[in-house]
Every structure is written in structure tokens, then in C-alpha cells.
């Protein structure tokens, strides 16, 4: 058996069921690793070790007594610190909410508990899920385990870094402009932004009501399916929640991609926002791999990436201003500079521009829906560059917007990012797959086929 901290959720669950391992043994190994590595990686805003160990002991007893709740029973999960856990502060990594103790679990937290997961603690984020890697906040920014001098992506930074470093097998983040998929891309793991409405946002601090999604990060595609099984479902307390649909998101993982029609959106990374040569090569190679597995790959054209990004920015800025205006008026100094600068633009956007962006959004959704009449899944870039150096603010500001994740926040389609290579300087490269509404399982099917055909998911960061 491989080292405990590198086991997938599926492997841990099998070992628990066979009594070869217990949740307490695994959690003890993870806590020791966190103690050893997290002083360098800063993935946790708050580690709830004692409560987690109590939960692991309870899981161990239940599993031993034949009362297993399923494959997440006894599995340690970290939550981005914008997600409520009853009794713990939800700080949003900000001085503004340092004392904001949650009175109840977010729906996603409650669903994880129902599935038997062990809530390990609260994870670093960009301030209010928007700021960026900042050094003027109450907590340090998380760092990339492939090279701690580099940004782990964000805003679900702690989730990406911690899963990639083997501190915990699963994280839950949020994604408004790519914030689950960016850390997955930068840290060489898998991150899914589910279909809008599939996972409840109740108890998750809002950034932009019509763009916010909650999604899982893990080291394998199968683990993402297991996590989605646990957290998906209708929630009447979330106005955007969709009616419950089919479950068992892993049902198509073994089907392969023979005769599946894949639309390759080349213009996003070839002309709209040209990616680095090695990222371009890694994306092209992903298309070749899927073609060699039997998929039918054809080129697809959508509205320009720059326009998708502009629509996302206008909507995000307007909706975020509505959330943050009271604090920006009275406590501007309690924000870090990056968040202050990124949350105030909404004060300068006219109402007509917001509505105009929402009207263009309707056309963009129609354009993507048109594309899905001819293809089953879309393939495109996630990031255009490997992770920037975290203390090089100019490089981070240049590269951070160079990405193709926002289109699927604008449209709400499910989208997954995963590792597709390593750069010359040893940082992960990535690719993205998107699917039809509520066909998250098909996105996972393609990702699983790519994972089986390549070995990137077996690579580990040289963090020790």
C-alpha cells in the first residue's frame, strides 16, 4: 500500500471496509504531515484537529460495527474559509469577518457530515474569494507545493495546495471566475465546477450570486465523482438550486471516449489569449490522447474569450459591490489592498452596463448550447501560464486573468480542470473539459479516460 497520505478516497474507503486501515490511522498520518509541511504551505486558516480526531474515532467505531455511511465515511475534507462550519469562524480570510462564528453548517458541510466525512478545518482563500495572494491580511497566503515560491492559484488556494501536498485527500472550494479550477490547474490535481445549481450555495459567503458555484478538488477523477455524489442535490434554501437529478456521478467513468464527439476550442488559447508554448503543446497533446482513445475531435468556435471575461467581470463587480458596499463605505481599511481594488469597481459600473452584460450573457449561453448540438464535450485551456511567483505581484497580475475558465461561470455549464503536463521549471500544466448542463458525469467520463491514458495524476510535488 502506498504512503497513507497519497491514498485516494476510493483507496482509503476500500481499506476501511476491509479493516486494513482505520480513519484514525489515516487522520493521524495526515495531521503529522500537516504539522511538518503546513508551516511552509499555509493551507489552513484554522485546523480543527481535536474535533476531527473525535469524528475519525466515531467513524472507526461505526465502520467496525457495520454502520458504514458510504465511501466518504471517515475521509478527511478541508473547506475553503468562506463555507460555514457550525461553531467555527467563517473569516473569508479577512479582517472584516475575523469574529464571524457560524451558527449552522452550510448545506455542503451538512451533506459531507451526513456522508460521514471528517471536517478537518478551514482553508486559505483569496480575501472574500477575490483578492489574490496578499500579505496584508490576518493570515498568510497558501503556497504551491510544487514550488512554495509560486502561487497555488486561487481563490480556493488552501484546498488546491493541501490536496496536492497530500495534507488531505479532498477539498471543497468555490468558483466564480474559475476559483476551483485555477488551484487545480496550478497544483496539478482535479477540480470541478459543477453545473450551476447542482450544489447548494447556502451558508457559503457570496461573491457574485449568478456566477458562484461550489465544487470539489481531489487527486483523481473518481474521487471528484464520490465527492459530488455527497454534496449535490436540491436545496430549497438556495434560490438557484436545481431540482434533484440523476446521481452516481461516477457511473460513466469506465466507458471510455470511443465515438464521443469532442469540440476543441482552439481560439481561446491560440489567438484570444495566446498560451505559453508548453501550455499550448500540453493542450494539443490532450486532444491527441483523446483522439487516440477513439474520440472524434473537431474544432469549435465560440464568442471571444476576452468578451466572456468582460461579461464575467461586469457581472461579478456589480454583484460583489452589492454585497460589500456597506463595509467598503465604513471599513475600507479592513480589507487588503487587492480585495479593496477588486471589490470597488462595482461602484463605477452603470446599471445599464450590468443589464447589458446579462443580456450578452444570454447570447453567450445560446452560443455554447448551439455548440453542444454537435459535440458532447468541449476541450480547451484552463490557464494560459503555469503558476506565477507568489511574491511577484506584477507577474501574478499579468497572468491571473489569462485563463479560459470564466466562460463556464458565465454560462453555468459544468467544467473540470486537471493536470496535463509539467513545465520546464517543474510546475503543473493543465487542460479543461466542459459539458452540457447536468451532464457532469460525462465531463468526468472524459476526464477519467484522459487520466487512464496518461500518467500525470501519478506525479507528486517534491515537497517531501
Amino acid at each position: 500500500m502506498s504512503e497513507l497520505h497519497w491514498l485516494s478516497i476510493a483507496e482509503m474507503a476500500a481499506a476501511f471496509a476491509a479493516r486494513r486501515l482505520s480513519p484514525v490511522e489515516v487522520l493521524s498520518a495526515l495531521l503529522a504531515r500537516i504539522e511538518r509541511l503546513d508551516t511552509r504551505l499555509h493551507t489552513f486558516v484554522r485546523l480543527d484537529a481535536d474535533v476531527a480526531m473525535d469524528a475519525a474515532r466515531a467513524a472507526e467505531r461505526d465502520i467496525a460495527a457495520g454502520r458504514s455511511r458510504g465511501k466518504l465515511h471517515g475521509i478527511a475534507v478541508g473547506l475553503k474559509d468562506i463555507i460555514d462550519v457550525a461553531g467555527l469562524p467563517t473569516t473569508c480570510h479577512s479582517k472584516i469577518l475575523l469574529d464571524n462564528v457560524a451558527r449552522a453548517d452550510a448545506t455542503v458541510t451538512a451533506k459531507l457530515r451526513q456522508a460521514g466525512a471528517v471536517i478537518l478545518g478551514k482553508l486559505a482563500t483569496h480575501e472574500f474569494a477575490i483578492g489574490g495572494p496578499s500579505f496584508d491580511l490576518p493570515f498568510p497566503p497558501a503556497r504551491n507545493p510544487w514550488n512554495p515560491d509560486h502561487h497555488p492559484g486561487g481563490s480556493s488556494s488552501g484546498a488546491g495546495a493541501g490536496v496536492a501536498a497530500g495534507l488531505f485527500p479532498a477539498g471543497i472550494g468555490s468558483d466564480t471566475g474559475g476559483s476551483v479550477r485555477n488551484p487545480a490547474s496550478c497544483c496539478g490535481i482535479v477540480g470541478l465546477k459543477p453545473t450551476y445549481g447542482l450544489v447548494s450555495r447556502r451558508g457559503v459567503f457570496p461573491l457574485s450570486y449568478t456566477l458562484d458555484h461550489v465544487g470539489p478538488l481531489g487527486r483523481t477523477v473518481a474521487d471528484i465523482a464520490l465527492l459530488l455524489d455527497a454534496i449535490a442535490g436540491h436545496d430549497a434554501a438556495d434560490p438557484g438550486s436545481a431540482p434533484s437529478g440523476a446521481r452516481d456521478f461516477g457511473r460513466e467513468l469506465d466507458r471510455g471516449v470511443r465515438d464521443l464527439r469532442i469540440g476543441f476550442i482552439r481560439h481561446f488559447h491560440e489567438t484570444d489569449m495566446p498560451a505559453t508554448p508548453e501550455m499550448t503543446a500540453a493542450i494539443a497533446d490532450a486532444a491527441r490522447v483523446l483522439e487516440s482513445e477513439g474520440a472524434l475531435v473537431r474544432t469549435v468556435t465560440l464568442p471571444s474569450l476576452n468578451e466572456f471575461a468582460a461579461v464575467n467581470r461586469v457581472i461579478l463587480a456589480s454583484e460583489a459591490w452589492s454585497v460589500h458596499a456597506p463595509w467598503l463605505r465604513t471599513r475600507p481599511g479592513d480589507y487588503g489592498q487587492l480585495a479593496r481594488r477588486r471589490l470597488m469597481p462595482g461602484a463605477f459600473i452603470a446599471a445599464g452596463d450590468y443589464v447589458g452584460a446579462q443580456r450578452r450573457r444570454a447570447q453567450m449561453i445560446a452560443a455554447v448550447e448551439d455548440a453542444f448540438r454537435d459535440v458532447d464535450v468541449l476541450l480547451c485551456a484552463s490557464s494560459m501560464d503555469p503558476a506565477s511567483r507568489i511574491e511577484d505581484s506584477a507577474e501574478t497580475a499579468r497572468t491571473y486573468p489569462r485563463q479560459a475558465r470564466t466562460p463556464f461561470n458565465v454560462t453555468g455549464h459544468p467544467a473540470l480542470a486537471m493536470m496535463s503536463g509539467l513545465s520546464d521549471n517543474g510546475l503543473p500544466l493543465s487542460v479543461q473539459f466542459a459539458g452540457r448542463y447536468f451532464q457532469d458525469a460525462t465531463v468526468l467520463r472524459v476526464a477519467a479516460a484522459y487520466e487512464r491514458a496518461t500518467e500525470w495524476h501519478t506525479r507528486r510535488p517534491p515537497i517531501g
Partner: protein, 60 residues
């Protein structure tokens, strides 16, 4: 966006404190807002409604 307009809009938005303490951040935010909207091809057809459409409740 001209400086006087930025000041006026910031005051109208209630950002006097930010204007006093963080004038560069207010200016940067205004510049970001001005840069963003121009890239969008807003539909000329008045029939194109914003997303998401208004929906009635259940009536129950």
C-alpha cells in the same frame, strides 16, 4: 474616466472614507470599471432579455 468624475461617482457611492484614505485604490477601481465594459457587444435587439429571466413563484 476623468478624475473629477471619479471623485463625484465615488462620493455618490458613499466612498468618502476610501477616497480620503485610499485614493489610489479608488482610482484603480474606477479605471478597472472603465476598461471592462467596452469589450462587451451588448445586443442591439431589444428582445434579448437579461439572464436569468424573471420567473414567477409557484402560486402556492
Amino acid at each position: 474616466m476623468e478624475h473629477d468624475l471619479v471623485i463625484a461617482l465615488a462620493k455618490a457611492a458613499g466612498l468618502e472614507k476610501a477616497l480620503t484614505d485610499y485614493p489610489d485604490d479608488v482610482a484603480a477601481a474606477a479605471a478597472q470599471a472603465a476598461e471592462t465594459g467596452g469589450a462587451i457587444r451588448v445586443p442591439t435587439d431589444p428582445a434579448i432579455e437579461p439572464w436569468p429571466p424573471m420567473r414567477a413563484g409557484t402560486g402556492r
